[in-house]
């Protein structure tokens, strides 16, 4: 997370959320140009969960994530220019254009892997935690996943192993209640998702995922335990995605969720909620926010310009990187 010196730390959280929101809205706005030729899974609405969780980490901690990875990449400090270049399929992209929007890696920032197969990155994150333990480091691995990924068997296998070995791993579930268009109630029995931790003797918490401070607090507590060798935790943050599962649009007209439900969540929209909180505590005002926005806007403009003007990968490089050159 980017924090300026002398500023209130919560302002940094707000900036990070605002920045993710603005970047994703810019992607949404320009998607119709048909120049970002890959799927995009926006996290608009889930910024409090994303930023709350990543802000509890330090740079040497690692994150693995999913198809819905833009937010984690940015909140953990991933390079914006290289992200946009990746989405535009450019050689300067964080994966050289090989990955697209579902593969945002930034080793410097500690974003190790995003993977679009549901559940697939979970054990990879556990392996990172195992490597930390083997190297006797006190870094932690945070494994970001959605509610549907808790239905994949590998999630449970991973919890069991992490709990058994007391690994410094954190399973962070953003429960947005949907797997594509299918509501949680059609996929899981009624009980708190965090109950799954009980089956594996693991600490857990269920938090309001639209309250950035609550998320940060819960994750920070889990991180502290993990660093101290006390083992992994499962944290479930309840939140909501406002746009379509994949793509730039709103799709509530399709009728897969009720207007009442959407309205309920609009009232809890995380950015506005945090803005009001910060305003009431005099941490932010309209002028400051306008300044933040202008700075972010400039950054976004720069990143799009960079990406759009960046050269495409050379077709001649198609066959490179299939096998590693042995060191």
């Amino acid at each position: 997370m980017i924090t300026m010196t002398n500023e209130h730390p919560q302002l940094g959280l707000f900036r990070s959320m605002l920045r993710i929101r603005m970047i994703e809205e810019a992607i949404a706005d320009r998607y119709a140009e048909q120049e970002m030729r890959c799927p995009v899974h926006l996290s608009i609405g889930q910024e409090a969960a994303v930023v709350g969780a990543c802000s509890a980490l330090r740079k040497t901690d690692k994150v693995v994530t999913t198809h819905r990875c833009h937010g984690h990449y940015l909140a953990k400090g991933g390079d914006l220019r290289r992200m946009m270049a990746e989405i535009y399929g450019r050689d300067a992209g964080c994966c050289g254009g090989r990955g697209g929007s579902m593969h945002l890696f930034d080793d410097d920032a500690g974003v190790v892997v995003s993977q679009p197969i549901v559940g697939s990155s979970i054990p990879v994150g556990v392996g990172i935690a195992l490597a930390f333990q083997q190297a006797q480091k006190d870094d932690v691995a945070m494994i970001c996943l959605g509610d549907a990924a808790t239905e994949e068997g590998v999630f449970h296998e991973s919890l069991n192993f992490a709990a058994l070995k007391k690994l410094p791993a954190l399973f962070f579930v953003e429960n947005n209640y949907f797997s594509v268009y299918t509501h949680l109630s059609n996929r899981q029995p009624v009980r708190p998702i965090s109950n799954m931790a009980l089956g594996h003797g693991m600490a857990s918490a269920q938090v309001d995922g639209n309250d950035v401070l609550a998320v940060q607090e819960a994750v920070a507590a889990a991180v502290t335990r993990a660093r101290a060798g006390e083992g992994p935790s499962l944290i479930v943050a309840d939140t909501y995605r406002f746009r379509e599962h994949c793509g730039p649009l709103f799709d509530d007209d399709l009728g897969y969720r009720s207007p009442e439900e959407v309205d309920h969540w609009k009232l809890r929209e995380p950015l506005e909620r945090f803005r009001q909180d910060l305003q009431s505590r005099n941490i932010i005002d309209a002028a400051l926010e306008a300044k933040l926005k202008a700075t972010i806007q400039g950054e976004i403009q720069d990143a799009f310009d960079f990406a759009i003007n960046a050269p495409a990968p050379s077709p001649a490089s198609l066959g490179e990187y299939v096998y590693a050159q042995n060191a």
Binding site: Y31, R37, T182, L318
Partner: protein, 359 residues
């Protein structure tokens, strides 16, 4: 002649499901997205409304268990249809497919039957990337006990699906997403198609061309174009990868002496390897030239459109190879250019003019 009308393949599939479910209460469907507004690329739209949530199950994200559940229900006499929106999701269930579905009939000495249909959608395009655009038909075709099919035409999508549902063995039904957009005449009535072997699409004496799935559509353009350069192809849609019945293709190779195979998946250890090997073993004395194969090169597909464009085999590549094999003095440059021009009317990563992303 049965009554027909034009449908897209996706609609033809939907009709097969609707007719099969209406005719037989044992048929039910399990598929992520089966009941959602997009209805698995339109192939399942409206079915849950019609047959209820107990027969059109939009399940949790648990591919391995769902496969076992389908197998268990099939053992009890039900006829489940399982759908995967991407073939990759089925990898999570491979143990169930290979060890249970494929082997229960054999291991039980015929006492058990596993009449399961498992749809797996393969595809390409629009930056899907390495884990959302594989083909992988070989993984299933190698396994005795499975039937493995790849329909191309709308009529086959309907007819082969009906046959698969009616079949008492497990059937892997590999649909290419881009074939979903093809249009063609489809019988109104529920008439199962044969699952016995390939279908011949053109007659010729100069070369035998065989392709699978979406590559049949590319090859079809090449076959027409090659005719203008004096090369007439005996042209087959392989359709059924297992059990593999090559009788008609071998007879053709014995006549033409030349074989070109076009794979939808990777070339190496691909479907074409087996077809070329059998053709060589069984039609050796008739071969006039080395058989050839085209297919995906030896790497995952990159997301970037610029890279992906050089990844896929096109009609232009096919006509070029056909001419090299059967009329090496023909003007291959022009033949290529004509087909490339046709292709370039649409961006290469778009299956249909209506397509606008995002997946």
């Amino acid at each position: 002649m049965p009554k027909t009308r034009k449908l897209q393949a996706a609609q033809a599939l939907r009709e097969a499901f609707e007719q099969a479910m209406a005719a037989d209460p044992r048929v039910f469907m399990v598929g992520l997205g089966a009941s959602d507004p997009k209805g698995i690329f339109g192939t399942t739209s409206g079915l849950q409304e019609k047959f209820g949530a107990a027969r059109v199950i939009d399940p949790p994200c648990s591919e391995s268990a769902l496969t076992g559940i389908a197998i268990g229900a099939a053992l009890m006499g039900q006829r489940p249809i399982l759908s995967h929106q991407r073939v990759e999701f089925s990898l999570l269930a491979l143990e169930q497919i290979i060890d249970n579905a494929a082997k229960m009939h054999y291991v039980s000495r015929g006492q058990h039957r596993v009449p399961v249909v498992i749809r797996m959608i393969i595809g390409r395009g629009w930056g899907q990337g390495a884990q959302h655009a594989q083909s992988l038909e070989v993984l299933y075709s190698h396994i005795p006990g499975l039937k493995v099919v790849m329909p191309v035409t709308p009529a086959d999508h309907k007819g082969m699906m009906l046959a698969a549902i009616a079949d008492d063995s497990p059937v892997i039904f590999l649909e290419h997403r881009w074939c979903h957009y093809t249009e063609g005449e489809v019988p109104v009535d529920p008439v199962p198609a044969s699952l016995d072997g390939p279908e011949k699409l053109a007659d010729g004496e100069d070369i035998t061309v065989v392709a699978t799935s979406f590559m049949v559509l590319e090859a079809m353009q090449a076959v027409s174009a090659a005719a203008k350069y004096g090369v007439k192809a005996d042209f087959f849609d392989l359709r059924v990868l297992r059990p593999l019945n090559l009788a008609a293709i071998l007879a053709s190779v014995k006549r033409t002496g030349r074989l070109l195979f076009i794979d939808t998946g990777w070339t190496t250890y691909g479907i074409g390897a087996e077809v070329v090997a059998q053709a060589t073993e069984q039609a050796f004395d008739s071969l006039r030239a080395a058989p050839r194969r085209l297919g995906l090169p030896e790497m995952p597909v990159p997301a970037s459109p610029v890279l992906a464009k050089s990844y896929y085999v096109t009609a232009a590549d096919i006509v070029d190879t056909m001419l090299q094999m059967a009329n090496p003095t023909a003007d291959r440059q022009t033949a290529r250019a004509e087909l490339e021009a046709i292709r370039d009317r649409l961006p290469f990563d778009v299956p249909h003019p209506a397509f606008k992303g995002p997946f």
